[in-house]
Amino acid sequence: MTTHDLVILGSGPAGMAAAATAVAYGITALVVDEQPAPGGQIYRSIESTPLKERRILGDDYWHGKALVDGLDDPRIDYRPGTTLWQLTRRLEVGLLQGGHASMVQARHVILAHGAMERPFPIPGWTLPGVMTAGSGQILLKSAGLAPSAPVVLAGCGPLLLLLAVQYLRAGIPIAALLDTTPAGQYWDALPLLPGALRNSRTLLKGLGLLAELRRAGVRHVRHVTALEAEGEDRLERVRWQCGNDPEWHCLTTPLLLLHQGVVPNTQVTRALDCAHDWDERQLAWQPRRDPWLATDVEGVAVAGDAGGIVGAKASAMQGQLAGLGAAIALGRVSEDKIHGEVKRLRRDLARETAIRPFLDVLYRPAVHWRLPEDETLVCRCEEVTAGEVRRMAEQGCRGPNQTKSFTRCGMGPCQGRMCGLTVSELLADANGQSVAETGYYRLRPPFKPITLGQLATAAEDTSG
């Protein structure tokens, strides 16, 4: 088993910045990423996108170019197309590359694998033709692909608006943008606006997106309170209700893109059994970290959205901070020596993240979007409905590990990514407990499925 000083998971803004920072202190870094090219979700396909016209994806997207160029350094061993399938508390790292499984030993690990979309379980969300907005954006960035028939976007959050604008600029027709942001939330978020003005650039960008949609005449339906996808074998129609109006509206469409925000991807930190806290404002789990972004597992730090949603720019700053933390931990620099640099970095980070409380409150998904009706499927892999989860609570299941043992809910190939938050919140609600008390799935390797054949060969690395 080969040993690496620093293994970084993810080549998004946080991972790229962490690598660039660490190598400046003489550390060699192994950067692994599942994707075939660097950039993470935000700067996906930045080197290869067919959408060369800068205007379509926007200036923020092209910002990633400098970070990506930084990966081109002889001290960085960048391995695209590589999946992390195991990470132990002893920092043994299981990798899968080109169908071959292997193990390496790390001395320090920075997890920078980003966010995932919050589950958005509505009736019919499993029909072919219903996708997450994130998947819709991947199609656009990597292949410039999208259907010619008008699409429907539904949900809330900055990414949904951004995607709507990106689709618009790419000439893809939008039948409607169904906004599920609850009516009262604009008022709830208002007191947080002064704080958010510290990052007025991001705020203005958001307002700009809204204005661009309005100018283009996109049908923007607000205060959507009920939403269903319908069709025989695939999506045919989207139905919705607005406010307290009992009338159902309907649109025919081949593609519905759903989105209600992003949450940290905690699969790996959960599998490591790091301490996690429930963040009530972001309605998500976050690994507990010290000021250097280190978790309670020796040698493991988390940078970027994987530790709590902060956005691309703040993620890169956190990457730098974690890279400095790695340099200290590996004995390449003393804390005193970089005191000034760290102080500046933390100040910039505070300014950049000042907008989060405002965005978190404004785009907080309403409770009925997070606790679906009994008939709605929650666990897609094992086909478990919200009603079944509620019945398990009645039978005495206090937490998601018990429901998992009971019905295999959360035990399918997605390892609970698509249902974990929903199940925790459903159980908390049904049992009258807090989500923090209810807990989350215990995660186990492999993080991504590997074949029996690959498993058999991986062991050869550890023997001897």
Binding site: Q395, M411, Q415, P446, A459
Partner: protein
């Protein structure tokens, strides 16, 4: 006359004991440091198996099997029991001889539930099996059930009979009081006429307190499960000279285990899977079912279980104190025995002679053992 009974450990055996004791009108409290079925009881392979048991366990396993036929009556739930049969396959001539010897041994004891099958019969029952296997030992009526569902069914039956469960509280001390016990659990104290030790991997601590230490090892048998595959397998498959338990559920997923061990992190009280053992397990599977090479593993896990050096449980009264009964150390094959262990514990607690020979399970067999520290 109704006794106050405290059971330490809300696993299968603790919950089964609670059901049988409360059915006789006793006032039962079950205390668990986490929750019912958290460790071995809830996450084991779910094998309902008489095949290949230690001779001492066979009478108990036969009696338990009779209860498994009517679990809905016993605990109000069928626990997803599927009597699909179990087969231990021979991979070579030496294995086949081992199985033949086993068949003779079981017959000599007066049982006929295990019988040899030929290469052709094996092929017929398990067409997907590699043709190099020359035969097997079969046991019809064995099968599998859902472990967590089973432990939950026992717990709920106990609750319906008035048993109280105290979960998330560890027992921190014992004190003899009159002819009974005071059991300290965090800030709470429970009085008991009779104390029952069903604490699984943590049972050794109670034994130390009772001045009868036992050589109990906390181990972490590992399991892994595949994505859904097309149905290819009916019975549960085991190997003869290598650890393997291999079954396909109705939903198509395949569960692989059978005794390879992970690691126990005693500080965090959790079991960790470890790659080497899983890879050995994968090797065994690939030699018996080569087409599984491309099957994807979606999850691995391990549960903490008490294992005794002679691989059979302690199921007996205490040798040092009156009014203490032990039921632990089932050594990674206690799942099937849960319906009968509780009956035996109830008999012992009430001073009745159990209907089954339990002398081999006496704690006195470890007399003279001194723990390392």
């Amino acid at each position: 006359m109704s006794a106050r009974i405290v059971i330490v450990g809300a696993g299968l055996h603790g919950c089964s004991a609670a059901v049988h004791l409360s059915a006789q009108g006793h006032r039962v409290t079950v205390i668990d440091k986490e929750y019912a079925g958290r460790h071995a009881s809830g996450v084991n392979a779910g094998g309902v198996r008489r095949l290949g048991r230690d001779p001492a366990e066979i009478p108990l396993a036969m009696a338990a099997w009779e209860r498994w036929q009517r679990m809905a009556e016993v605990v109000g739930d069928d626990c997803d029991f599927r009597p699909v049969g179990q087969i231990k396959v021979a991979e070579n001539g030496a294995d086949l001889e081992t199985l033949a010897e086993r068949e003779r041994q079981v017959r000599a004891l007066g049982f006929d539930h295990e019988y040899l099958i030929t290469r052709d019969e094996l092929r017929q029952r398990v067409p997907a099996l590699s043709p190099h296997c020359p035969g097997g030992l079969a046991c019809d009526g064995d099968g599998y059930a859902n472990p967590y569902r089973t432990v939950t069914a026992w717990r709920r039956q106990a609750q319906r009979q008035g048993v109280s469960f105290v979960e998330g509280v560890a027992v921190t001390g014992l004190e003899a009081h009159g002819s009974g016990w005071r059991v300290q659990a965090g800030r709470q104290r429970f009085s008991a006429d009779i104390l029952i030790n069903c604490a699984g991997a943590w049972a050794g601590t109670l034994c130390e307190w009772l001045d009868e230490p036992v050589p109990l090892a906390a181990e972490a048998p590992m399991l892994m499960i595949t994505e859904r595959l097309k149905p290819f397998l009916g019975p549960v498959i085991g190997a003869t000279s290598r650890p393997l338990s291999f079954k396909q559920f109705e939903n198509g997923t395949v569960l692989i285990g059978g005794g390879v061990r992970g690691e126990v992190d005693s500080r965090r009280q959790v079991a960790e899977t470890c790659l080497g053992g899983l890879a050995d397990n994968a090797d065994t599977v690939l030699s018996l079912f080569p087409f599984m090479h491309e099957a994807r593993i979606v999850r691995t896990w391990a549960g903490i279980e008490a294992v005794m050096p002679d691989q059979i449980p302690v199921l007996s009264p205490s040798s040092t104190f009156e009014n203490v009964i032990h039921a632990f150390g089932f050594s990674a094959h206690g799942f099937q025995l849960s319906p009968i262990s509780g009956e035996i514990v109830a008999d012992l607690a009430m001073g009745r002679q159990p209907a089954y020979p339990i002398q081999p399970f006496s704690i006195t067999r470890f007399q003279g053992y001194r723990s390392a520290d």
